[in-house]
């Protein structure tokens, strides 16, 4: 990565609380144009909260977020126009068809109608949804829903992609397609923040990793640097070391004990 390139996402000293529970305390990071950055952390570490804050869905109680030169939450409309977001929990209207949902997303993003229809056609073909385009989303499988969400995030050619477990529910061929697509998008300048628990995918796709634990950023470095710093050979071991994940043996033993012989 070229360090001189302009940062597209800048997060400074970010705090966020749900009532009295502090989900994030003082997270800071920068992501350059064309970079794919993995966002890792145990359950409840604050990954999804971080993504929602950067997407302008939540507004922070303290700290600053700049996406593509737009300050959040003040300029959330402008920021949302350059962001494509794939949420973890598939937020879709079940009674719309896949094509209708994409039309809605594209129109809300003010994509001109002709361009929109052309892009919908290509994306439906690419993700093999052409045959089910007129079916209600209620009848879609989990993977098909995920493809609709990914298509909706790409429709307006966003400068920034925020992905929360984007490969969840996808088959192998689709996963490979998405991984290659993300690499191609990054090569043409799209900035990608990729949150996932699947560490080998992060290892293959991302240039750098941010590791959050208990609402704090515990690591921000290229993957190779993380491995050499922690003297571990795999990202999984790096992750366990940095997040102090305890040995699983005693916990498994406790479960087996209560289940009986």
């Amino acid at each position: 990565m070229n360090p001189d390139r302009h940062a597209v996402i800048t997060v400074q000293d970010l705090f966020y609380s749900y009532d009295s529970f502090e989900a994030l305390h003082g997270i800071s990071f920068r992501i350059q144009r064309g970079e794919i950055v993995g966002l890792l952390g145990p359950n409840g570490a604050g990954k999804t909260t971080t993504l929602k804050l950067v997407a302008g869905i939540l507004s922070s109680s303290r700290g600053s977020i700049d996406v593509g030169g737009f300050q959040l939450p003040r300029q959330h409309l402008e920021a949302k126009r350059i962001i494509g977001f794939v949420p973890e929990a598939a937020g879709l209207y079940e009674s719309l068809s896949g094509a209708e949902f994409l039309e809605l997303a594209g129109r809300l993003q003010q994509v001109p109608e002709k361009t929109l229809q052309a892009r919908i056609g290509v994306l439906l073909d690419t993700f093999e949804l052409r045959n089910v385009r007129a079916r209600r989303i209620a009848s879609y499988s989990k993977g098909m829903r995920q493809k609709v969400l990914l298509s909706a995030a790409l429709l307006h050619d966003p400068q920034v992609l925020l992905l929360d477990e984007p490969l969840s529910g996808l088959d192998v061929a689709s996963s490979v397609l998405i991984k290659d697509l993300l690499a191609a998008l990054a090569a043409r300048g799209t900035t990608i923040l990729y949150s996932s628990h699947v560490l080998d995918v992060v290892e293959k796709v991302c240039h750098r990793a941010l590791i959050v634990d208990g609402g704090s950023l515990v690591a921000d470095a290229p993957l190779d640097e993380l491995k050499s710093r922690t003297m571990e050979s795999s990202l999984e071991n790096v992750f366990r070391k940095l997040t102090h994940s305890e040995d699983t043996g005693p916990r498994i033993h406790r479960v087996l004990e209560i289940l009986g012989p």
Partner: protein, 567 residues
Amino acid sequence: MKTPRPPLTEYIAATTAAQRLLRYTGLDPEQFVLLLRLLRTLSERQEFMGNLGVDRFALSLMAGGVAVFIGVPMGLLALSQLPAAVFLLVNLAAVSCLLLLLILQEAANTLFNPVEVSVLAHQPIDPPTLIAARITHVLLIVWYLVPALTLPAALGGLMLKDARWTYPLTHFGAGLLAGLFVAFFVCALYGWLFRFVPASRLKSVTLWMQALVFGALPAAGALVGAGLRSLRNLNLGLAGWSWMPLLWFVAIGLLGSRAALPSMGWQGLLAILLTAAVIWLGLRSLSGGYIQESADMIRGSLRKGKAKTRRNTLLPAVRFFTGSQAGVAAFSFTSKLMRRDWQFRRTALPMVLYLAVSFASLLRGKEELISPLIPGKFSIALLFPHFLGLMLAAPCSVISFAEFHQGSWIFVTAPLESLRAFARGIYGSLWFPGALLPHLLILPALILFWGWQAAVLFECFSLTIVSFYLALELLLIPGLPFASPYKASRSMIGLPVLLLGTVIAAVLVAAQWLVFQIWWVAVIAGILFGLGTWLTAHFTLRRLEGEIRQNLHLLRIGPTQMFKEID
């Protein structure tokens, strides 16, 4: 989205002047039209049925009911030859009160439970435009109900001696403006709440606000009753009254008639300016940070999540009563969700509170609290089980709906070997707090005042009656509890159920008074009624079991629209 489009949406989409007006008020016309069409489509495809304003079928039903029960009687009031101003005032008061009650509930659900926002939150939607689209649906309630409430009276008003041929038009116009005023006022009130109450507490605050308004209804009813007796002597021409918003609309309704009110004084003008400022600032408060705070609004306070984990001491009794662990599961699940689900509490609590306060308002002195076993005297206590029984109709009619209903798949995976026990568990979850607990609470007082024999006899008889009501009301439960999204049309059954219940209650109260004249007749009647209740419960539990089985089948096969294509 090729569904029939509402005229308002198409008018805005096609008219440059309308778009310019929207832009002038700070809204995005394209997004406004897109959001109106989206809400309409979701409603027509039965996905988004929780708001009365987007459910045209529910609105039409309600308009029909309102026309029959309120509109037509209002029209007939014209035969009493009241002064035109008083006649108009009575009709506009009815319009305002009914819309206030409805919109207080609907605007809270629309503005503070924006379920559609979870899908749209990351899209560049202008918050004022989103709020305007939501408020448009609140205004549709006014558009549907005002004609039903005012047109019969407006036409009947032609018979008044002060009225001219223009009277129906001005009367209807005044009703429409009064309705719009109520809608905007309530939305603005919520705007002020949005400004000062944390987002996570908003739903809770509005729920208690609605419940308190319903609770205050019996007192308001008594005031209206007193007011109606002196209607003919009302002098609405006094300048000192011109601060009252209702009189502004009465003045509009009387424009051009022989009974026009004198022009309002400075008090009236000041009140209009102040009210306009309150509404404008309140509505503006809803805009800032609305989408960002919607996640907190939908989720509600995290404090509720910190549920008490103490063991429920009733569970062994429930296990015995239902005969299976499945019954305990149903009891425990239903009891917890009844306390926590906002949709359930928001729809059931106002009616429960209204009936509770109505009963409490009957207890005026010692003479009403005499033992029901004193021959020849009527004791208010005889009404106690009937109020309780009618109260239980509210939770039964909405118990199948939940705010977060997606967890119902768990019932499909569970080996529910005994659906009968499961149904009994649901009955128990309503019976323990709705029937047994109130009786236990009043028992010491009854023993103190009536002696233990009369108290115990009354309690047993009363408990049997409440159990009978509950057994009948199981018919209102369409299947698994807390397993479906809320449907606004469901609230339409409340009024007919209450009316039917009142008729049944009147018959039962008369029979009960007769049997309580002689104590041993009361004992025998109680035993026979208990048997009847057992048989009724047996039948209705079987029906509920069948409904649950059907519900589970639908959950198993997934969405019914599977493979259906959209044009």
